[in-house]
Subunit: 306 residues, 4 copies
């Protein structure tokens, strides 16, 4: 298996050059296009890795399923579902999905920016500081890594330039879809969550917990009910790879979430969690080489759930 991973990275290395570093957050342009790493954590307890699997990068949109999980843990499915939809929008992740003058909660979902900001608003905590701490702790628990931190430089970079997200926050407020009065505080909470720093290994761990439907490896401790995993995995399948989710379903056939930091977390239900890192992105914001690796891995190991 280790050999297979090495082989796949070799085959896919040429694709690392086809992508571009995310440039809408200045700090992200400092990444290295050559990086390529993978980590696989199987339900039989075995771990496999290859390439730059120890390299750190910011989690970015891969925090979205974690924000959704925290919101579910804090409020239950019905409450969360009442505040945000589950349909693919057919549009990019930061789109303003308004049917003319009306913004409907049904038209956003937790995997697009507006929905993710709405999730931040549902997470419990007396202060935004407390909320972000709870998100950070859940991330650490799912990743089995107490050392996970927020990357301050990326956070400050996002805070400085994230006016589109601010606009989305004020739109949510203007349509009564969030209760927070401090929109800037809420959006700041989202910026910090996106700036959490992880490795491919961390993502594989998180994916493993979703694959095992809520149980941590080894201890088998249950972090959340099985039905939350099913809920999150289903949304990842239909909306996890931005407006490339349909293509990914066809080619890879696994629930997954990508981030503009270059990470992809994939879930093979009951079988494994997979973490990949390669910062060159296609125009939809997905890691080019990362998707290629997953495509080949899925084919060779018959991972597609279809």
């Amino acid at each position: 298996m280790e050999e297979l991973l090495e082989e796949l990275l070799e085959e896919c290395r040429p694709y690392t050059k086809e992508g571009k570093l995310a440039d809408y957050i200045p700090e992200l342009t400092k990444g290295n296009l050559d990086d390529l790493g993978i980590y696989v954590m199987r339900s039989d307890g075995k771990h496999y890795q290859a390439g730059d699997y120890k390299k750190q990068f910011t989690i970015q949109s891969i925090i979205k399923p974690i924000l959704l999980l925290q919101a579910l843990i804090d409020n239950g499915i019905d409450y969360v579902r009442a505040h945000v939809g589950v349909e693919a929008t057919g549009k990019p992740f930061d789109a303003i999905n308004m049917t003319d003058q009306t913004l409907l909660s049904e038209n956003i979902n937790p995997m697009v920016n507006m929905g993710a900001i709405a999730m931040c608003s549902l997470i419990k905590g007396d202060t935004y500081e407390e909320r972000i701490q709870r998100v950070l702790e859940l991330t650490r628990k799912l990743a089995g890594n107490e050392d996970i931190q927020i990357n301050q430089a990326v956070y400050l970079s996002e805070k400085r330039t994230g006016n589109k997200n601010r606009a989305l926050g004020y739109l949510l407020k203007s349509y009564g879809m969030i209760q927070d009065d401090d929109v800037e505080g809420l959006v700041d909470c989202y910026f910090r969550a996106c700036s959490i720093q992880v490795t491919s290994k961390d993502l594989a761990h998180i994916g493993y917990v979703l694959a095992s439907r809520g149980k941590l490896p080894q201890t088998e401790e249950r972090v959340f009910p099985s039905k939350y995993a099913t809920y999150v995995n289903a949304i990842l399948m239909t909306c996890g790879m931005y407006d490339g989710s349909g293509e990914f379903a066809v080619k890879v056939g696994l629930p997954a979430k990508s981030g503009v930091g270059g990470g992809i977390m994939a879930v093979a239900p009951t079988r494994m969690g997979i973490g990949i890192f390669s910062p060159g992105l296609d125009e939809k914001g997905n890691s080019v080489a990362g998707i290629k690796v997953l495509e080949k891995l899925s084919k060779r190991m018959y991972l597609s759930i279809f």
Copy 2:
């Protein structure tokens, strides 16, 4: 198992009254809201059924995966993919998904009307008569039922009132997305395909072949390559239940396709094919009681692939 099915129908019967008969095709308003039937065909060769599983209804949009299969059989994945996208549109099935003035093949998919009409255009045959015969024969083969016919009354009703579909056909032509010069003939072919008459049992058979990735039951004859099944099943997951696909993924977790005739065909990969009939539709065009039955069946038998 038979008992379970009887029980589920009993529990879901009240929902039959919550839906409405499709009214945009005059002939469909003649249906009976009380009808409710289910047929399950397992990979161990066992069949189970309950309720009105013998009742006939028109296949309507459930023909879409079959049109896609025929187009794949005739042209291969790459050619088909080049003519039509795979992303969820975030819009109703008969939407005109134009980004301003440009109609992009990427923005339609084989599960929305425009994409399905484009599929008709890719199916081989010297005449439209020949094309529709080939579709009818593939349907019979997948359903294991040589008696399947086109319902002439429904076909003529659709032909008379289907101006939205005509408009979609002329738009496809106007943007060079179909080669046919006879748009009326092409759309007529689509009307006839939608008017094929089936039962829940037929749908379960068709779903079974997709679940077994291309093999017919009993003989194990391969009708199409495994990769076509994966392709179709993945698209069914993201776009099969109109703009209710995300909700269905969360609640049921199976690739499926619904039609405004009241049918639903569901695929539990490697495990079973399911056919359901109940003509009361929700506002998205999906059978209300049908979805309820599938939701409960999925929960009790742990069918969700997530």
Copy 3:
């Protein structure tokens, strides 16, 4: 005055090369980019002309105000207004202006293709042949030119390639916005109306009648009530130059209508009618040099109504 016109043509001649011939109707690509002509007809009975004012070209969208006039003459303002709106759409002339799934008559207007096709449907006549004859006769009367004919080659070219307009026709039918059962016949009527052949002089005559609010020159015969002229002129101001109407209002300040044949008809209320021809179009479909000539003429003669 004659001198002024000669001077303006000279100054604007370089702009003739900046535009492109319309290419969506094959026959129109045969035009000559060098052509540039102007004809002015003043309310004091004087006529002035310069350049290629005798050159013939097809009227194209400039038939739209005439179709509207005929519909008004046949049905009155209230009836027409009930079938089609008066707001600028903010979109190109052949746009599909649907708010999601609903096509509202309020969202189309007689200066965009959909609205113009709807006008054809309101014009009286037992057959489409009769309707188009009435439109042709009204055009001749307004232009004071009995020799005006339909250009058969352009008509057949439009008929062969006009699938977008066919789609618009079927959409109108599908949303119950036209009564005609023979959509092909209706659209054919529109194709023929667009193919009427005129000169700059004809357009100046037509503009004169609108400027004089319904009266023919010399005889002072009233062709239609004054209020129809006000109605048409107001719509020309807000929607006459496609999605360049706002720019035209600012730069020229006159009600006007352009066609992809290269013509522009402008109306200086109570003062004059102007006809211009230069077939090089900008990307919105307006004659580049034609707009320049009007801009300069308006400045030098203080024609802006603002």
Copy 4:
């Protein structure tokens, strides 16, 4: 003439009940639906008035042409035109007019909220305090009324609830369409400008200056070049009455601007300025009775410029 105005108010009084007070700014709900006033200022120096012409109300969107004038005075037409378009959007005043992911300056205009906020950004001043003072002074000068002030209660109400406008401001910033770093300060400037308190008489004065193309009454002092008046009047014609501009052009035929405070300012070029107040609004945000009065006035005095 005085008599005519009295008569018109009497005829239109019933329409005051058909409208609704603006409710999206809490403070505006305190208005009195019965109020109805008109003030006319003719180019021959005569003034006429009737009804509640002394009643004060907030200027709201009628500040937009003044913001545009100030931006023109500070930067000239070319610079302003490069930052904001002139086409009608076909959408409500606070719409987000994005073609998918791109916000183009061509797609906003100074009469919709986004464009007006962009105008605030072009007005010169070292601080926002200075900018708003300059706008206030220009308003006083145009209205010939040194006592004009900002209504603090309305301003604070708008500031508290104006999250849609904040979102529009951050979108402008995010697409590089404004230079200001302090978006909150910029939007605050807009809130204060909208809260300037005026009377029908003030609006008639302002309209008079636009009608006389830049000259104050009596002194004939020129406040701005003639071409700025033409520019503003043309935009008022195509976009001044929100998405009811086309209807207004047809029915009244004058450049005009309405505000949700209940005011309408109308311009009869070279002839008169008109101010109206009646706070009952239609669903587009225009004064119901106000439009009725203008319609009748235009018909009886042949004011339509078409």
